[in-house]
């Protein structure tokens, strides 16, 4: 049974990444917890990953605040090229 729960660091960090988006399954989380018992490196990765997630979330908020638009000149250029295509 425990053999099925044993995972590599690559798999553990993949689960950890998935978990940052709340998309790891309960079975995945159990495997991750068991992996942490014997792997300090992946525990550190997870701790740092949590910090990075907070940073990315706040970066995401500020990115979403700015809504990119086309300038009037760019729209005019679009109109001209579309007219040319129409012939």
């Amino acid at each position: 049974m425990f053999k099925n729960l044993k995972i590599t660091c690559d798999q553990a960090t993949t689960i950890c990444d998935k978990n940052q988006y709340g998309e790891a399954t309960i079975a995945d989380k159990l495997k991750l917890m068991l992996h942490f018992l014997s792997c300090k490196i992946c525990s550190l990765y997870t701790k740092q990953n949590n910090t990075l997630t907070k940073i990315y979330k706040s970066h995401s908020k500020s990115c979403k605040k700015s809504i990119p638009c086309l300038s009037e000149e760019e729209k005019m250029a679009f109109k001209i090229s579309l007219q040319e295509k129409k012939g």
């Binding site: 798999q11 993949t14 998935k18 638009c69 109109k79 579309l82």
Partner: protein, 188 residues
Amino acid sequence: MAEEQIVLNTDKWIDNYADYMFNYAVVRVNNSDLAKDLVQDTFFAGLKSAKNFQGKSTERTWLISILKRKIIDHYRKINSIKGQAEVRMNFYNDGENEGNWLEERVPQSWDNQSEKAIENEELKSQIETCIDALPEKYAMVFRMKTIQEFETEEICKELDITSSNLWVIIHRARTQLRKCMEDNWFNI
């Protein structure tokens, strides 16, 4: 009651849809020039296939479906470019150590972690630099999932990839970004 047939009005396309379509494209490809090209190509393609428009959807929905196809084509193009910068491996990929951390890629402790995590312009700029250093397809998927916060299912549908493919990309992108932030922000 007969359904109202929608007719294309190509003279109004730019005024009515250009901003919406540009916004749609730029949040996905994160490149303003590329987004403009994709939108322009979409209008041209729309014009070319206008005779195939059956009037069953709105003009905007129809144009967006063309734009979506253009975005998938772009993703496939960047996915197939040979010789592009790949993400560096972080784990042994064969032998008895398969799946274990490569020694030179093992995470190091960060100095003043909480202090360095405080939001400021410099930090934002460093995040952008690290994302831009990723191979384009990794950056695109990472941005859609993490910065634009799209649902996994939506990204898979829009880029025509499987969810396991998406998680491999996210995992590789995040491990690479962690290392980049460690070397250029947390431990400098």
